[in-house]
């Protein structure tokens, strides 16, 4: 082994404490990179394979009713639509006697024989339909497992006003429902919602749709995909006579949208987070190498005098950076791989793929290694460049004494004097090492920013939940009627046992158009004095309904380029299907969905319908126990006019549980990472400072100062720089949260960027805790310092 290599290894061993701090930060950065990027590829691959294997559709058109022959005729005029499937889709309720909550689902028709149909199914248990019976059903597998349903069991569905008993032949998944929720909900609740596949001819009979369909899905040709929006619009126009409720592409389909958002989020985070960590590691290494270079100034000069070239010396000292980079890279790669496995387990809980597994990607591993070595080398070279530029004789000479000017604070003599010599030493030390102090400040502000981001994440979810479920959606149940019912029906429902109050809702789906923007959605007519569905602004204040006009969700208004006072064109899918120009009087805030609200009577007026109720919101009496709920649900189950029942309270509970489980876990990991940054930066700076000021410490010891008194000097320095950094980091964290929530904005949900005041306090407290813990380690080193030896140290 070459002599310089041996020197390097021994120097690394001597500096192991300080290098460990750097390696920790590099490891954290690489763990993020490998875990997130691997998960990105795992999810992308699983999704792409699933879509390909089971022919996930490119588009969906939801209709009232269209003869299949007519649909085929119209579709024949679209050569860029490569394949089509016409099917029948209807909501249903599931009669499960022991269930204490409503159980709903969607019935979809499938061909009687298994083939490579669009939006095909992946069988999990049992078999496809057989010829023996018509009334067979294949359930979504998650629902079946949640309800303990096995192939061969009997399932009772209430749909089309009719109770039907169906024989379960099998369970399956579909790429259409990788993430399955009830319409309008965000919650994955397999106990309460399932998909039920029945034979095509059985569906035709059941829903009285012989030779007709109400749902068309299909695949575009490659050329068609390039003009999908245009084709969909044209298709909607052609199918308009058959009552088009909605026409959307894959990127707007709920499950696909959610998966794509998640995948995109992984990709973004796999770049941002590692950059932060690796950037900080480069800064910390810069400080460390500057110190080592100063310490080994004479050695560098001697080696140059012996005849070692700058190139050889650069390579030698680069060894520190390469060692840190490789160690951190390897550890981060391994931890990242195991973390991606953990992430995969979490994803499997929420996303249903036939095959989702965590793979090892050598190229990601190598990339991670390369990036960490690059950043570490950058930090190393930056720290060394000054020394390496010196001539050998200069390097061997003592450096010029550091600047001895007074600080700006010293101009205020009485204030300066009042500080006392301890604070004077601390402040001089901070301001006379501007680069090092800046790096400490930057690291702690980034650490605090990540802490605040983590807390903000949790706060935002809390805010979203309480806003949506305590301020906007205030009912316990929401009923959807198969057909509109008169208001008297609602009065009857309000008199059911346990019901405190019932409010009518009138929803009309359609398309909003403004200048060149177009968006599908619905207007919900509500009572002006209603209390169960309340439009609110971002501050949570109720926005009063106008006598005429619409209240529009801010995201919808923004997408349509509308402001209060503007008008929007609305083409409904029911009743008189002609465009109406409606004024937008106010903008409201909603965390879920793109709601548009209008006074009930006003909506009835413009739709030329009277006393029309399509949904109802029910509020139970306070403290209604499970018995009351079960009784009520039983009563509701006997009403054939009710198509589906949503349990709002249950949605809230499940969302909260999911949130507590995975999102808070994410926040904890982020807090851990922030801690690593704090530790890494503080420890590194403090241990270097200890090394440099050995003689000063020894002098104080000789004078008679105890370790605690000497330690307090270092503690004050660490405290000032790191708490100042933490304070500066808070606006940075808030800004980071604002950027992050932008990636969680789509038509289905909008993550608010909210930080509660207590979170700022928690951030400061945690920063202080990290400072204390780092100081604990520093204090131990201080106590073990061979200070007598230090008195003989020759620089």
């Amino acid at each position: 082994m070459k002599v310089l290599t041996r020197k390097l290894l021994r120097d690394i061993l001597r500096s192991r404490g300080m290098l460990l701090a750097v390696i920790l930060v590099i490891t954290a950065g690489n763990t993020c990179f490998v875990a997130l990027l691997s998960s990105y590829f795992n999810l992308s691959r699983a999704k792409n394979e699933y879509y390909r294997e089971y022919f996930m559709a490119d588009f969906w058109v939801e209709l009232k009713k269209c003869p299949t022959q007519e649909a085929s005729r119209i579709l024949a005029d679209f050569p860029d639509i490569a394949r089509v499937r016409q099917r029948i889709v209807f909501p249903a309720r599931v009669d499960i006697p022991e269930a204490s909550e409503p159980v709903n689902g969607m019935v979809l028709s499938l061909p009687g024989y298994q083939d490579s149909t669009i939006n095909g199914i992946a069988l999990r248990r049992g078999s496809y339909f057989t010829y023996e019976l018509r009334n067979q059903v294949i359930c979504s597998d998650k629902f079946a497992r949640a309800r303990g349903i096995e192939p061969g069991d009997i399932l009772t569905l209430i749909t089309g006003g009719v109770r039907k008993e169906l024989v379960v032949t099998g369970t399956a998944d579909s790429p259409e429902y990788i993430y399955l929720t009830a319409p309008g909900s965000m919650v994955d609740d397999p106990e309460s919602y399932g998909i039920f596949y029945v034979k095509q001819d059985f569906a035709e009979d059941l829903f009285n749709y012989e030779g007709a369909c109400n749902n068309i899905t299909g695949l575009f040709s490659p050329e068609g995909r390039r003009q999908s929006e245009y084709l969909l619009r044209k298709l909607s126009e052609e199918l308009a006579p058959y009552g088009v409720y909605a026409a959307y592409s894959r990127k707007e389909q709920f499950s696909a949208l959610l998966i794509d958002s998640e995948i995109e989020g992984l990709r973004s985070m796999s770049i941002i987070l590692p950059l932060v960590f690796l950037g900080i590691s480069a800064l910390i290494l810069n400080v460390l190498m500057t110190r080592i270079a100063e310490q080994q100034r004479t050695t560098v000069g001697t080696l140059k005098a012996l005849g070692y070239s700058n190139g050889k010396l650069v390579l030698h000292y680069l060894g520190f950076g390469i060692f840190a980079g490789i160690t951190g890279g390897l550890l981060g790669g391994i931890l990242g791989f195991f973390s991606s496995q953990g992430l995969t387990v979490i994803y499997r809980m929420y996303f249903t793929f036939p095959r989702l597994y965590a793979d090892f990607y050598p190229f990601i591993f190598l990339e991670a290694l390369g990036i960490s070595v690059f950043f570490a080398s950058l930090g190393t070279l930056r720290g060394l460049h000054h020394i390496l530029r010196l001539r050998p004789a200069e390097a061997m000479r003592l450096p010029a004494p550091p600047r001895g000017e007074s600080l700006f604070l010293e101009r205020y003599a009485s204030l300066w004097k009042a500080l006392g010599f301890r604070w004077q030493m601390v402040l001089r030390s901070i301001f006379r090492q501007p680069m090092r102090s800046f790096i400490a400040l930057l690291s702690s502000s980034l650490g605090a920013a990540i802490l605040l981001l983590a807390f903000g994440f949790v706060d935002s979810m809390d805010n979203m939940m309480s806003f949506q479920f305590e301020k906007v959606l205030r009912s316990d149940y929401r009923l959807t009627f198969k057909n509109p019912v008169p208001r008297e029906a609602l009065q009857e429902l309000s008199r059911l046992p346990g019901v405190l109050r019932g409010e009518p809702l009138f929803s009309v789906g359609g398309t909003f158009t403004s200048r060149n923007a177009r968006k599908r959605g619905s207007i919900t007519g509500i009572l002006p004095e209603g209390d169960l569905l309340v439009p609110r602004n971002q501050r949570g204040n109720r926005v009063p309904l106008p006598s005429e006009g619409l209240l529009m969700t801010d995201r919808m208004a923004r997408d349509l380029g509308l402001r209060p006072g503007d008008s929007v064109s609305f083409l409904p899918v029911r009743g008189e299907q002609r465009e109406r120009l409606l004024p937008v009087t106010s903008v409201v805030y909603s965390a879920l969905g793109l709601g548009v609200y209008a006074p009930l009577e006003y909506l009835e007026k413009i739709m030329r319908e009277e006393e029309t109720v399509t949904e109802a919101a029910l509020l139970l009496e306070p403290r209604s126990g499970p018995e009351v709920r079960t009784k009520l649900l039983k009563a509701l189950a006997e009403r054939p006019e009710i198509e589906s029942i949503s349990d709002i309270g249950r949605e809230k509970r499940i969302l909260k549980k999911q949130f507590d489980g995975s999102l808070k876990g994410t926040a904890i990991v982020m807090i851990l990472f922030a801690g690593i940054i704090f530790f890494g930066s503080i420890l590194n700076g403090a241990l270097i400072s200890l090394e440099e000021r050995k003689r000063e410490i020894a002098t104080l010891k000789v004078l008679g100062y105890h370790n605690a008194a000497i330690g307090s000097l270092f503690f004050r320095e660490i405290l000032i720089t790191n708490l100042s950094g933490a304070v500066l980091g808070m606006p940075l964290g808030y800004f980071g949260l604002a950027l992050l929530v932008k990636t969680f904005q789509n038509d289905i949900y909008a993550f608010p960027g909210v930080v509660f005041p207590l979170s700022y306090l928690w951030t400061l407290l945690l920063a202080f805790l990290f400072v204390l813990l780092s100081y604990g380690i520093l204090y131990r080193s201080l106590c073990k310092l061979p200070w007598r030896e230090a008195l003989n140290v020759k620089e």
Binding site: V3, L4, R6, K7, R14, L306, P392, A393, E394
Partner: protein
């Protein structure tokens, strides 16, 4: 002492060498027009008080510093205008340095310190042999912190020897040593000069040590005041300490 006529070309020739240091806001002229010649195979002593510029002069001869003005001709090559790469090659192949405070690398053993020098040349002196020459054959595995001052200086000399240099430059090699060790070091250098015909340039502030060289250059305030040949150089044990 009389001036002896030299007919062979000097190994090193300094012509009007100037060097000024900038220390913070202060500018310090250290060499102010040095003219001197060093001959091959001799021990040349550069004598001067502290601050006379002798270390700077040695550093310039050794290629670890460069003059601001003037010429430094070594074996016909002018080092004054040489690039960093050329100087590095020069130091590697032709110069061995012995420092006042040894400048051993603390994380390397004695043998490894010598090896660090030996690895730089194609045909070095075996590091173990170099240590034996300086009488430390059994101390190869010792770290500098485990050696006395005199031993460390001998390791430093062994390190310089390992490259079989044309020039052995010694910056106050006995400055940090007691008398007994100083004598041993100087005897070693004298033997190297005699047996290996090394050209030794040694700087010192001690007029006693000055009497062991073949040639004496007196440096004062950045200029050579006198250059003399010493007729009968003394052995280190004979020096009037």
């Amino acid at each position: 002492m009389t001036q002896k006529t030299q007919f062979s070309a000097p190994l090193v020739e300094l012509r009007n060498v100037h060097r000024t240091f900038i220390m913070g806001e202060v500018s310090v002229p250290v060499l102010r027009g040095v003219n001197a010649a060093i001959h091959s195979g001799e021990i040349t002593i550069i004598l001067g008080e502290s601050g006379s510029g002798k270390t700077t002069l040695l550093n310039i001869i050794g290629g670890i510093d460069s003059p601001d003005e003037g010429e430094v001709i070594v074996e016909g090559e002018n080092l004054a205008a040489a690039s960093g790469k050329v100087l590095t090659r020069y130091r590697r192949s032709r110069v061995g340095f012995v420092f006042q405070f040894y400048n051993l690398i603390p994380s390397l053993t004695a043998l490894e310190n010598v090896g660090a020098s030996a690895e730089l040349v194609e045909e070095p002196l075996d590091p173990q042999k170099a240590l034996e020459i300086v009488g430390l054959g059994d101390y190869g595995s010792h770290f500098p912190s485990q050696l006395s001052g005199g031993q460390q200086q001998r390791v430093s000399i062994a390190r310089a020897l390992a490259k079989k240099p044309r020039l052995l430059l010694c910056d106050e090699p006995t400055g940090a040593l007691d008398r007994e060790n100083s004598v041993k070091i100087l005897e070693l250098l004298q033997n190297l000069n005699r047996e290996q015909e090394s050209t030794v340039i040694m700087i010192t502030h001690s007029s006693a040590i000055a009497r062991m060289g073949h040639r004496l250059l007196s440096l004062d305030d950045g200029v050579v005041r006198s250059a003399q040949t010493v007729e009968n150089p003394l052995s280190p044990r004979e020096l009037p300490w």
